[in-house]
Subunit: 332 residues, 2 copies
């Protein structure tokens, strides 16, 4: 699948949608044909390996999450793990712990009892986690989370790269007075996106102005109140990078109450490309996508790679940053 | 859990949130204390049965869905199945088929190989399905879907009851000229919600006017265009029942372009109580909730009930309608 995506010049997620013909995102007919042609040329068959379900060790891989399946946010990670499992003939055993340590313990025991080949552990938002206990003896990889000191291999979004890309959309449109509505929660996304914002300003020769950085609850309501505060700045910024799409949705409401137009009076960029919101705001929101599908897919591919150790931790674990692609729509 | 919820006078979902202390919905401190007091009084211990994981037949139950885990919509169904499984000491094996028959076949074989006690089959939106094949010999229950002739036990949302309740919020506020923006897709929700709308009008002595029923794509964009059409009606309706919250979100945008206020100029009711949208529109949307948690929980409870047959179909399968509760906010 990775090779198909590269040769067709599309993302892994797009290649998967094009080949499997399902999923919520839309892929143009042209893209679908191109990807399918490449897949055929390369002899890609998603089910080829899945035929062989009996294996020396086990046909299972475990996927443990805090609440990825039950939170309407990062479900594409499940599709990524599932597709990679299928390509390798594994069946995914999945469990949500809802962050309850007892549930985690029960689930880990169950997975060891059933001799899973390895475990992908993931969280619904990007954060640091304690090293999962109770899984010794089998390989573990982290998706969308990491441990202090990176003692386990992990795949996480490149928040700083995404923040920089978001801001550069605005500098490329000629904006010089660009506000950033950041989250007031401590998280890698908060520090990373701010770092990216500053780097983009620097690259464009715009001095950093701390008055243009507001913090708020990273929800619609927070975006609304921060938006009203931001409109009192003099001179008013001409563009805003929002911590996430929900904040942008609240900012839209604040701008409307003042009769301001997007992007004429104020350009807006979000972050997350959250499915129910981003494409459906009016005007449709320019944003940066979280690579949920890729995080799931790449972490399981790493776990099942050729020559991987079959027990214990990886020899040289690293925190791999996965790019966050921009999605330009009508708000910039 | 069911008994705790009943005695505390809350829904199953609320009882679960209060007891497990997690989940995206918020429960007031007062409710949490009340539910926890009842749970303590009844000696409810979520993990009590889960201690005993070894069973004569199997400790697994299967949960097969089309794309419930990967679509940001019905994830609460997973929590419902998971909680019921845990109460009975079962571990949930979950798989998404993404509506691919080959994947379904593989998953069903895997589940039979691992001697699951039974299977819950569910779909991300309420619809008719073919009787799942490849699962003979074990009990199967359907959640959020049903078969023609109801040959299997199923639990589905009471769409007509929900449509009636939505419309009755508007008649109770004195509205007489109430439009309905329905979906243009053929689905139980489309026919059921329309039936409920008509019943509510009839109960209020309001004659049905087919000009007040518009159909559209059940997305934000459809709500926007239908909203603009609706504003050309003369006299203009004073209230609108929308097929879903996404349509309501588009209608909000249409009303704003005409400078109309919600609910002063037009009252709006949605359907679904979709998490990212409903509570966060401005004004917050009055809507009707889909009972996803209950659909999952009740279906697995039925499968694991005392005296249930251990193989084959249920003796007298029925389609059980699960109520859709109203959630009143500020748009009515």
């Amino acid at each position: 699948m990775q090779e198909v995506a590269t040769r067709a010049g599309v993302s892994l997620a797009t290649a998967s949608f094009a080949i499997n013909g399902t999923g919520a995102r839309k892929v143009s007919e042209e893209t679908r044909h191109r990807v399918q042609a490449v897949a055929e040329e390369l002899g890609y068959r998603p089910n080829a390996m899945a035929q062989n379900l009996s294996r020396a060790r086990s046909s299972f891989i475990g996927f443990i999450t805090d609440s990825v399946a039950t939170t309407p946010f990062a479900g594409e990670m499940i599709r990524g793990v599932q597709d990679a499992a299928r390509e390798h003939g594994y069946v995914m055993l999945m469990a949500n712990t809802e962050s309850d340590p007892r549930t985690f313990h029960d689930v880990a025991s169950m997975m060891l009892d059933h001799q899973v080949h390895g475990v992908v552990y993931s969280t619904w938002y990007h954060r640091q986690v304690s090293t999962p206990t109770g899984l010794s003896g089998i390989p573990v990889v982290l998706a969308n989370c990491y441990t202090r000191g990176d003692r386990l291999q992990s795949f996480v979004p490149d928040e700083a790269g995404g923040g920089r890309a978001a801001t550069e959309i605005l500098t490329a449109h000629g904006h010089r007075r660009i506000a950033f509505i950041n989250s007031d929660l401590s998280a890698p996304a908060t520090t990373g996106r701010l770092r990216g914002y500053r780097k983009a300003l620097q690259a464009a020769g715009i001095p950093f102005d701390k008055n243009l950085v507001l913090t708020t609850t990273p929800e619609q309501e927070g975006g609304y109140t921060a938006g009203l505060r931001l409109l009192q700045l003099d001179p008013r910024p001409t563009a805003v990078f929002c911590y996430n799409d929900r904040v942008a949705m609240g900012l839209y409401d604040a701008l409307r109450t003042r009769g301001l137009s997007i992007p004429q009076d104020m350009a807006v960029v979000g972050f997350d490309n959250q499915e129910v919101i981003a494409a459906h705001l009016r005007p449709a929101l320019t944003t940066v996508a979280l690579p949920h599908y890729e995080l799931g897919y790449l972490s399981l591919k790493w776990l099942l790679r050729e020559g991987a150790p079959t027990t214990g931790e990886a020899p040289e674990p690293t925190r791999t940053l996965v790019p966050c692609p921009t999605v330009e729509r009508s708000s910039t």
